[in-house]
Symmetry: C2
Subunit: 346 residues, 2 copies
């Protein structure tokens, strides 16, 4: 049988009869165990993960799912898998953070073909490490080997996060007012968006000659401290720990993902309000300028495709802005809330 | 930009600037709206889905993730997508049902390349319909178009379910005793396991000549009421509504997935106990006999790969067995709990 599913629910006793698969599952389980929170109910639920919620007055569950997109193709060329696990968890955790939620647990799915056990362990290892950093439990996951669907060595990496927030603490943008200050926190590289464009620009991750692709990724460019490949594989930054202490003062949080600042900031603004963003408030990191130059990409497309150096944008009452900014390392005033809609630059 | 992610979080305002993508997202949102439960918090959370849990004494959250495996390849040959949505939801819902959980909400992920809008709508339509039937909300989802990763028209379909059960009502197998009766409920075909083997046996779903593959799937065989393709695409049956009224009387629930009865029933049994299963207690459906005969597959491999006609197995105290059985349409006594380990036939 060429299809083989390997559950790594934290406490699954294996339903797979191949010794190697069982060893792998047992290592997945070890990785999951390293993320355990006291609420995880151990040794129960071979088909699912169980988590005792605990005492909340009016708990709102917040959930999100995402994948890391074609960043997987670059990671495969360089044989660097662990960072993708961080990308996946951090992207999902940031998504529920926009509602003010604390991440409770995470589940991952690896669909692929001929992915080595080492690569799978590095992927799940990265997921587990990022879960530990965010304080959430890796509650379960699934690995499906499907040679008919993926080319050998290819895989897709999908995640699901579940968080909780008290009803009264939900951040929904409704309290945002004209004149509120917009703060931006720096990104660590491209995070998980724009990789299809980047792959075209540098001709990498297309199943061409991997050795040549590897050489292209190992090149250094003026302005980059590290090789192109290193710069492109920098992991999606998680904002949960930084933002946790100031969540009560935040009126809106926009995660800068696909669509960039203009595609994401307006999503959290009430009707009738827009954002004036001052691009000169921060320095665009050299990686983005390199991509723009090599790809001859219009400025507007750059801002619509990439985060351009800002990974998350916060709306704060003007009176709170300085107090919030001073608690957040690297935070900058990037604009303000204005009458209108969408994003205006200036 | 060839990579395009389409969020269908129930209340997402689109971060995508292509009109067609926006129309698709709006139709995804309509489908999600049709599954809404009162706990879903509308018009909040463009980056995630929000669900107000409500009053529980000691809520345990139960989560699971799965994909439908290479069944997607057969569905693609026949252009029949909606059933896969049912497969995905029902598989996941059954997985958390094994702990006694009520499904609250679901999220789906479609990764693929060149999947038509019609196919995507059929997939999400099937997911939404199955969510409605199980009473759970479709809280969000993600569609990622990744031409470098999937061959044109190919896709993977992944789901996440979140359910809840009171701590005292968690079904964990710990109350199972020697002499307990094992009841089986009929499956509807193969559910979502064994498709890689089936594809080999009938030489379908290998990106060969699709017209020839379609002809092979449209054949009828003695004993089958419908064409081979119809029989193979029958949807994974959901057991939640049937089992809900009898959950307090169930001591253990095994979902018969990959590994079949011998791979799954022992997973819920306490140490020192095994299952004696009487294969003659039910008639193996003709589809399984056809696969066995055409593929010249050993009896043991059949029972290790397929559900063989039983989709879920319940452990019940002998004194309750008849009362439980009589409330479950199609339920049969298939065996009993014995000293030992694993499954013994007879």
């Amino acid at each position: 049988m060429s299809q083989e599913k390997q559950s790594h629910d934290a406490y699954a006793s294996a339903g797979v009869d191949i010794a190697a698969a069982e060893r792998l599952i047992s290592r997945f389980a070890d990785l999951a165990r390293g993320t355990r929170r006291p609420e995880v109910i151990a040794d129960v639920g071979p088909f699912s993960g169980l988590f005792r919620l605990g005492a909340y007055r009016d708990p709102v569950l917040v959930a999100s799912t995402d994948s890391v997109g074609t960043k997987v193709k670059l990671a495969a060329v360089l044989g660097r898998y662990e960072g993708l696990g961080h990308d996946l968890v951090n992207h999902c955790v940031n998504d529920i953070l926009t509602a003010g939620a604390e991440p409770l647990f995470f589940l991952d799915y690896i669909g692929g073909s001929g992915v080595t056990d080492e690569a799978k362990l590095a992927l799940v290892g990265g997921v587990a490490a990022a879960c530990r950093e965010a304080g959430c439990a890796l509650l379960g996951g699934e690995t499906a080997d499907m040679p008919g669907l993926y080319a050998t060595g290819d895989f897709d990496l999908v995640g699901f996060v579940l968080g909780v927030v008290e009803r009264e603490a939900v951040i929904d943008g409704s309290r945002i007012r004209e004149g509120d200050v917009l703060l931006g926190l720096p990104s660590d590289g491209l995070h998980t968006n724009g990789y299809s464009l980047v792959r075209k620009v540098f001709d990498v991750g297309f199943d061409g000659d991997t050795e040549e692709e590897r050489e292209r990724l190992n090149r250094t460019y003026p302005g980059l401290d590290v090789s192109l490949g290193e710069a492109l594989l920098a992991s999606h930054r998680c904002y949960y720990r930084d933002l946790k202490p100031v969540l009560p003062q935040l009126r809106g949080i926009a995660h800068i993902t696909g669509g960039g600042i203009p595609g994401n900031v307006p999503r959290v603004l009430p009707k009738g309000l827009g954002a004036r963003i001052d691009k000169s408030a921060w320095e665009t990191p050299p990686l983005f300028r390199l991509i723009q130059e090599r790809g001859n990409i219009a400025e507007e497309e750059m801002y619509r495709t990439f985060n351009m150096g800002i990974g998350i944008v916060l709306a704060v009452a003007a009176a709170d802005a300085e107090a919030v900014r001073s608690q957040l390392p690297g935070a900058l005033v990037v604009g303000e809330v204005v009458r209108g809609k969408g994003v205006v630059w200036g």
